[in-house]
């Protein structure tokens, strides 16, 4: 479904990704783990069109999407739920969700998705009219995921959904991510620093170190890998 081959990305003169190759099959949950500054966010930003690679290619469902602007990539069916959530603080919960369906012109579909998101995250339904900025961190994360789902994506990119959120809420959010994958059939590429959680949820994983993929395997193998255990699960 998604393939990256030999992707290099630069910020000005600084190179952040070195020949990254990665594949995600339809229906999978794949995770990408790595330390601070490894280049995880950079990789997601490259897929969603916020950055364009200086070498290599990105293909989605067979077509090249590298070089497309972000607002074009969304229309192909990729939703990027960004690091730090970035919800619209002054719009209400409902308005935030409706913004997520900006590219969808059919009211009935928007309504159906809204109900689905409220079904996944009942807390959002309760807070429908509240400004997004007044939600707790965990609720904001739910809103960010819900907003990304409103576009009806086939591939969902999640950037550290556990960041700065209480452990109990993190459990809840991860359970919902699993449900999104199982019930809606949405393919998921999950970036996490919390390797315990990520390797528990995903089927396959990649380990990124200083801009390079250093390991790639099924998660149950990664969990047993001595290097991974020491560096990320220790």
């Amino acid at each position: 479904m998604l393939t990256l081959t030999g992707v290099d990305v630069h910020y000005g003169r600084v190179q952040a990704l070195f020949g990254v190759s990665l594949t995600v099959q339809a229906g999978e949950i794949v995770t990408l783990i790595g330390c601070n500054g490894a280049g995880k966010t950079t990789l997601l930003r490259t897929i969603s069109g916020l950055l364009s690679p200086s070498a290599g290619e990105v293909r989605f469902e067979g077509e090249r999407i590298d070089g497309l602007r972000a607002d074009r990539v969304v229309r192909r069916g990729i939703a990027h739920c960004p690091e730090g959530r970035r919800i619209f603080g002054q719009l209400t919960v409902r308005e935030n969700l409706e913004m997520g369906a900006y590219v969808e012109r059919r009211r009935d579909r928007v309504q159906a998705r809204l109900e689905r998101v409220y079904g996944l995250f009942p807390r959002l339904a309760e807070r429908e009219g509240q400004p997004g900025g007044t939600l707790s961190g965990g609720e904001q994360q739910m809103l960010a995921i819900g907003r990304a789902l409103m576009g009806g994506p086939r591939l969902l990119l999640l950037d550290e959904p556990s960041l700065g959120i209480a452990p109990i809420l993190v459990q809840e959010i991860f359970a919902e991510i699993r449900r999104v994958n199982a019930e809606l059939g949405t393919t998921i590429l999950l970036v996490e620093q919390n390797a315990h959680l990520a390797l528990g949820l995903a089927a396959r994983g990649y380990v990124l170190e200083t801009g390079r993929v250093v390991l790639e395997d099924e998660c149950r193998c990664l969990r047993e890998d001595p290097q991974v255990r020491e560096a990320y699960l220790g």
Binding site: L50, D71, V74, P82, R86, F88, Q90, M99
Partner: protein, 334 residues
């Protein structure tokens, strides 16, 4: 209307005459405030060139009216000149907006500031046959003859016209902000990257808001030019920008009713001071300084405006709610 006009003047009296003038100016500045609000309030861009778009509109309308007066029916010339004014201001908005809006924040402020000054200086140095140069441009009266007896009627006509335009523009802005595109603009203003990730083209969104704002400033210019009958470049100086911005900030960035109220208060004070005798002329000068001072203080302490994005009805409801929630004065604790 002819026979009734002198009667109107008498009925209006000098006080009524003063109020009519005030109301016309309030509607012109409300249009300016509302349109700047689209850019600086809802759009959260920082334009300092609104007086430039206003001048473009005024001079655009004036120029076309001079060219067409007498050849076409008056009301038609009026309408055409308004449309032309909007077109000229929009073209100005496109020229300055397109290159800057791709860049971030401060460039726009600097470029628009320069733009406003360039417009004024260009008009000042224009050939007299074209735009009247420094001496000003006389705009032929196309809506009705204006003589000593009909001046009051002319003012009243513009009171009505101004009111209608303010209501129409306010309603249009309100609808826009609630539409999908309007929401997209608000979202872009809050977080460009997040908006882009949802499929919104941030540049397009910003350019749209900027263009709408400059176009409407052009409309305000057309009304102003027809009302005054004579316009000079000095009337469109940077001080006017400060005034318009102050109206937007006082009214609350992103509040429609607040903006109109602020325009009223500001112009009322200004016009009232204008009636003071010359012996206390320092008050007027001091007031001009005050504008800038109040603006700076507001930007520091209430950067989202005095009332923020709330409408007056929201404030009223909140106030009533608080009063209802507060314990009655007479009764002790239960």
């Amino acid at each position: 209307m002819g026979g009734g006009a002198p009667l109107l003047a008498i009925a209006l009296g000098p006080e009524g005459y003063w109020w009519a003038n005030l109301l016309v100016l309030v509607s012109v500045y409300s249009l300016l405030g509302l349109s700047l609000n689209l850019i600086n309030g809802y759009g959260r861009m920082f334009s300092l060139g609104h007086h430039g778009f206003w001048a473009l509109g005024a001079y655009g309308a004036g120029w076309l009216t001079v060219a067409l007066a007498g050849t076409l029916p008056g009301p038609l010339v009026f309408v055409l000149s308004c449309l032309f004014a909007m077109g000229v201001a929009a073209a100005g908005g496109l020229v300055i907006g397109l290159p800057c809006l791709r860049l971030r924040g401060d460039y726009l402020a600097i470029a628009t500031l320069g733009f406003g000054e360039i417009v004024r200086i260009a008009i000042q140095n224009s050939p007299r046959e074209l735009l009247g140069g420094a001496e000003g441009l006389t705009v032929p009266r196309v809506l009705m003859e204006v003589g000593p007896e009909t001046r009051a009627a002319y003012r009243l006509l513009f009171v009505g016209l101004g009111l209608v335009l303010v209501v129409l523009v306010a309603a249009a802005i309100r609808n826009y902000v609630r539409s999908a595109r309007g929401r997209a603009m608000l979202a872009t203003a809050q977080d460009e990257v997040a908006a882009g990730l949802l499929g919104i083209d941030p540049t397009r969104s910003k350019v749209a808001a900027f263009l709408m704002g400059s176009t409407l400033a052009g409309l305000a210019g057309a009304v102003y030019a027809h009302y005054q009958g004579n316009i000079t470049p000095l009337e469109f100086g940077f001080m006017e920008m400060v005034k318009i911005f102050l109206i937007v900030v006082l009214g609350g960035l992103g509040s429609i009713s607040g903006c109109v109220l602020a325009a009223f208060v500001l112009l009322f004070v200004e016009q009232w001071l204008g009636r003071l005798p010359d012996s206390v002329g320092w008050v007027k000068e001091w007031w001009q300084v005050e504008y800038a001072l109040v603006l700076v203080l507001l930007m520091i302490f209430r950067p989202r405006g005095l009332l923020g994005p709330r409408e007056l009805t929201d404030v009223w409801r909140a106030w009533r709610g608080r009063r209802a929630a507060a314990p009655g004065r007479g009764g002790g604790a239960p």
